[in-house]
């Protein structure tokens, strides 16, 4: 019975020019998005690879230089764009590609691709995940708005009833046909992305297999939500016209307005620190309290000196067996690190609370939750970015320490005049970034997963109730 219904649906889709047109357009968009994604990711990776090599080369050949001067010149941590960014670039364009690992300062990631982007890209960015998130539901709604309502209008529902069709069969028959058509789209786009993801020069995320499976599961659940929603609305609406209008409303709120209004309201309720203000504070609070002429700073430096003298058991700085300038610099570094920890915790915290508020809007827009999970799985979400930034910061601290230590240990009384050479630079380590595995990647998005499952449950219940009511209504008619 379900098979008969599904087969009939397929024939109807095939004969409905609108369905064929929309499906064709969406498939084309998916293809174009995959190609664009591949082109973007592979060029970003190419550029990164050459930048990494260049960075090493420049570092190794800087010649004679004071290690702390070198720490100011320092090096860069370049964020890899991993394979799954082809499918869902997420925040890739909105976070910087490179973090400068300079002394005394924790830099934000600079070189955000969005700054080079043309302004209309801010309206919509073509990528495979977006195509599925936005157009998958639209296609489903077009396929299904008349699922029950049109059968009722044309009187065929009565006939089905007379033929002994059970509500659940009708529901499943319709669901299966629409779901398999859109599922085909998801799988097609995922497979397309997977093929180009394997291209040479694109870095693999750990657990790519699991992540891809997770994405497939995510989007199938996501589409299933809309399939059942459509069936429910179609069954509850008095006419197919009303069903379509209602579903278009759902689509607009879920995929267009929700994902914009959510973060907007979150930004209003939990404002992130203003960027210029934050930058200024970071500058000031990281350095002034240690270096300026204020009482506190003088005392702070005095304490450092006292500690050094005590540590080496000498009376004067001149008597120290180490390079005291280097020692003081490292102390300032450690002081600043504490400030950075506090301030960045505040910054990340504000992003996090914004996300929590925006997530509230997932109650009207499953797309918001799906986007969060999708970005997490693709390694392009806020947590992936934070992971990278934190790793880079940890490396910066080690690296600056290494350079200061060189000055402290070998600089003696030379002060800033002490210099190291290429032999030393060549020994210095590179920043090697290892992205987290899937377990850590999805840690922040469990609430989104739960929201999606809830949505699915509600949608199924609604569809079941709707179809049952539709049948009862028809029997009473």
């Amino acid at each position: 019975m379900i098979r008969a219904i599904a087969r009939k649906e397929f024939v109807q889709y095939w004969r409905d020019g609108r369905v064929v047109t929309v499906f064709g357009i969406v498939a084309l968009l998916g293809l174009a998005a995959t190609v664009t994604g591949w082109s973007a990711v592979s060029s970003m990776e190419r550029e990164r690879a050459s930048a990494v090599a260049m960075d090493r080369e420049i570092w190794d050949t800087q010649g004679l230089k004071n290690p702390h001067t070198a720490a100011h010149f320092s090096r860069y941590a370049f964020q890899p764009t991993f394979n799954l960014a082809v499918f869902d670039p997420g925040l890739t364009d909105y976070v910087g590609n490179a973090i400068w690992l300079e002394a005394h300062y924790r830099d934000p990631a600079a070189l955000r691709p969005v700054e080079d982007a043309v302004e209309i890209q801010r309206i919509a960015q073509l990528n495979p995940a977006w195509v599925i998130q936005v157009f998958g539901p639209l296609l489903i709604f077009i396929l299904l708005y008349g699922a029950v309502a049109a059968e009722r209008e044309s009187g065929t529902l009565r006939q089905l009833l007379a033929a002994g069709v059970r509500p659940v069969s009708l529901l499943l028959g319709k669901a299966v046909s629409a779901f398999s058509l859109t599922g085909l789209l998801v799988c097609g786009v995922l497979v397309g992305s997977a093929i180009v993801m394997g291209a040479e020069g694109i870095e693999r995320l750990p657990d790519t297999g699991w992540r891809t499976a997770g994405l497939a599961a995510l989007y199938l659940v996501y589409l299933a939500i809309f399939v059942f929603l459509a069936l429910g609305v179609s069954a509850l609406a008095s006419r197919s016209r009303t069903a379509l209008a209602g579903l278009m409303g759902v689509w607009i709120v879920a995929t267009v307005l929700g994902p914009r209004i959510g973060p907007e309201v979150a930004g209003a309720l939990a404002p992130a620190p203003s960027a210029p203000e934050f930058a200024a504070r970071l500058d000031r609070e990281g350095a002034d309290p240690f270096w300026d002429a204020s009482e506190g700073a003088v005392q702070r430096r005095q304490r450092v000196m006292d500690a050094a003298l005590a540590e080496y058991g000498v009376e004067t700085v001149e008597a120290l067996p180490i390079n005291y300038d280097g020692y003081l610099l490292q102390a300032s570094e450690e002081f600043a690190n504490g400030v950075f920890d506090t301030m960045y915790a505040e910054l990340w915290g504000s992003y996090e609370s914004q996300r929590a508020i925006a997530r509230g809007f997932a109650l009207v827009s499953p797309t918001i939750a799906a986007q969060n999970v999708s970005m997490a799985l693709a390694g392009t979400g806020i947590h992936a970015y934070r992971h990278f930034a934190d790793e880079a910061e940890a490396f910066r601290r080690e690296f600056v320490l290494l350079l200061n230590q060189e000055m402290i240990d070998h600089g003696g009384a030379d002060g800033y005049a002490y210099v190291s050479g290429n032999d030393f630079w060549r020994q210095n380590p590179d920043f090697e970034y290892a992205a987290p595995g899937i377990g850590e990647a999805v840690r922040g998005v469990w609430p989104d997963v739960i929201i999606l499952v809830l949505w699915l449950a509600i949608a199924i219940a609604m569809a079941a109730a709707g179809v049952r009511r539709g049948f009862l209504g028809e029997m009473a008619a």
């Binding site: 609108r18 968009l29 664009t36 060029s43 550029e47 050459s50 080369e57 420049i58 050949t61 800087q62 010649g63 230089k65 010149f73 860069y76 997420g90 925040l91 909105y94 976070v95 910087g96 590609n97 490179a98 070189l111 955000r112 700054e115 043309v118 302004e119 209309i120 890209q121 801010r122 309206i123 919509a124 960015q125 073509l126 977006w130 936005v134 157009f135 077009i142 708005y145 016209r241 379509l244 209008a245 409303g249 994902p259 914009r260 973060p263 907007e264 979150a266 930004g267 209003a268 992130a272 620190p273 960027a275 210029p276 930058a279 200024a280 992003y351 914004q354 925006a358 806020i382 970015y385």
Partner: protein
């Protein structure tokens, strides 16, 4: 006369249709929210700009006071060795938010608008660490008046009008209506007049509210002039959609089909069009690699630093008059200046290429934007608001030129290691960002906005023809 009956009937129908009223109310609410938040946003930008400028002008004033003190003999020159040090000249360069940045945030949320111009920084480092905005927020985009007008308004127009003719048609009333001495054109026109008139009334009210809210009172001349153009552009976009809707309605299809066609058009115009155009612009005119730019700047800087003896030699060959005796200023200052000069010169062609690419993209988009009116309208609106990418590119270029101007002004003194006199300090050029004048903006947006009106009129003319045919053919099989 008969039109009046339809108008009256439609007015009553609109006032009694709860769903339509709710939709109109929601649109008004979104506009109000956008105005309030926009005003807040613009004010924050303005405050940040003013605070930055004030702080750095104060610093410059303090610095000047030291020069005055030395020059007047209040302080002995050897007691303030660095007073008037030419290398230390630093000035703020600020672009206050565009006159209507509250209406359309444009690219303001990702680009720097302040710079501390100092000879200690090479041109690639003139814009400090500003990348602290929440990536999620940037990705989601702002809910400004531009978004409300470009994306929400057409949705509302569609929701109110998709059944304008088809509801009468679907329910079989059209035959009865048209058996009266009334033309189908008059019926459709009256219906659209009432429904779209309500939308336009809200649009006008919202824009006027935005004008006053954003100005915090009576708006000034510049704002008023820009507002005039903004209003014209928004009206053009409204006219374009009105024409399109009139045409879709005139096709006399079933409600569902009409709704689907309109939504499909909205998607093509508002989502797919801009996404594809943006992708095409960036694919055809790829930006030079930011990472490669970074590497180049670093490499040149490293190279210049390493061969500083040669650099100095070159400088002295160029400026034999600067071979001064008794050079009392530390050598590294002169070296830094020359290294930065070298970097500036080296990156100049790359920066020029960045600007050229943006230029080429803008020209490309200026042509192809006619394929996606939403993209066209957005670009015009951003330009009118003073939040477009071209303005940003101009600002950044001007700041670099400004640095060069300061360098030219003090170069001899830097290289000679001499102090600046008060007169010389006072003659350091100042930077003021100038908005492009109203006439230029008007000329630039005239054609695109005219095109919107033209499209609207064309569509309306086609619709009129369709309806004229429909008058005597609406029952043709």
């Amino acid at each position: 006369m008969t039109t009046r009956a339809v108008l009256k009937h439609e007015r009553m129908a609109l006032l009694h249709d709860r769903i339509q009223l709710v939709l109109l109310g929601l649109f008004a609410l979104i506009c109000l929210w956008a105005s309030l938040r926009g005003a807040e946003y613009r004010e924050a930008l303005e405050e940040a700009a003013t605070a930055f400028e004030t702080e750095h002008l104060e610093r410059a004033a303090d610095w000047r006071a030291r020069v005055v003190a030395v020059e007047s003999g209040d302080v002995a020159p050897e007691d303030d060795r660095f007073a008037g040090l030419a290398m230390d000249v630093a000035r703020p360069a600020v672009a206050a938010p565009g006159p209507l940045a509250d209406f359309s945030h444009g690219v303001t949320d990702v680009h720097p608008f302040t710079s501390r111009v100092s000879l200690w920084r090479s041109v690639d480092r003139l814009f400090g660490n500003y990348q602290f905005q929440s990536p999620n927020e940037i990705r989601a985009g702002k809910l400004d008046l531009a978004f409300a007008v470009l994306f929400v308004m057409p949705l509302l127009m569609i929701a109110l009008t998709f059944g304008a003719l088809s509801r009468d048609r679907d329910s079989g009333r059209l035959g009865l209506l048209l058996s009266h001495p009334v033309s189908v054109r008059a019926v459709v026109r009256s219906k659209l007049l009432v429904r779209l008139g309500a939308v336009f009334a809200i649009l006008v009210a919202a824009l006027l509210a935005g004008l006053f809210i954003g100005a915090g009172g009576v708006p000034g001349g510049e704002r008023l002039g820009r507002f005039g153009f903004w209003f014209l552009a928004a009206s053009g976009y409204f006219a374009f959609w009105t024409g399109a809707i009139y045409w879709f309605v005139s096709l006399n299809r079933k409600s569902e089909t009409t709704a689907m066609m309109m939504i499909g058009f909205w998607v093509l115009n508002g989502l797919v069009g801009p996404a594809v155009l943006a992708a095409a612009a960036q694919l055809i005119h790829p930006a030079p690699s930011q990472l490669a730019f970074l590497s180049t700047a670093r490499e040149v800087s490293n190279e210049a630093y390493r061969s500083r003896a040669d650099v100095m030699q070159g400088m002295l060959l160029d400026h034999p008059e600067l071979t001064v005796e008794n050079y009392t200023i530390p050598e590294y200052i002169r070296v830094s200046y020359l290294v930065n000069e070298t970097v500036d010169r080296a990156v100049e062609p790359v920066l020029a290429e960045f600007e050229a690419v943006q230029d080429r993209r803008q020209s490309f988009l200026s042509l192809v934007q006619y394929a996606a009116p939403a993209a066209l309208a957005m670009r015009s609106i951003n330009e009118i608001s003073g939040t477009d990418l071209a303005r940003q590119v101009r600002f950044e270029g001007e700041v670099r030129d400004y640095k060069r101007a300061i360098a030219r002004h003090v170069e001899a003194k830097v290289l000679a290691g001499e102090r600046l006199t008060v007169a010389e300090v006072d003659a350091v050029p100042a930077y003021a960002f100038r908005e492009s004048d109203l006439g230029a903006v008007g000329r630039s947006v005239l054609f695109p906005v005219g095109y919107l009106f033209g499209l609207g009129l064309l569509a309306a003319a086609l619709a009129r023809r369709n309806l004229a045919r429909l008058q005597t053919r609406f029952r043709e099989a």
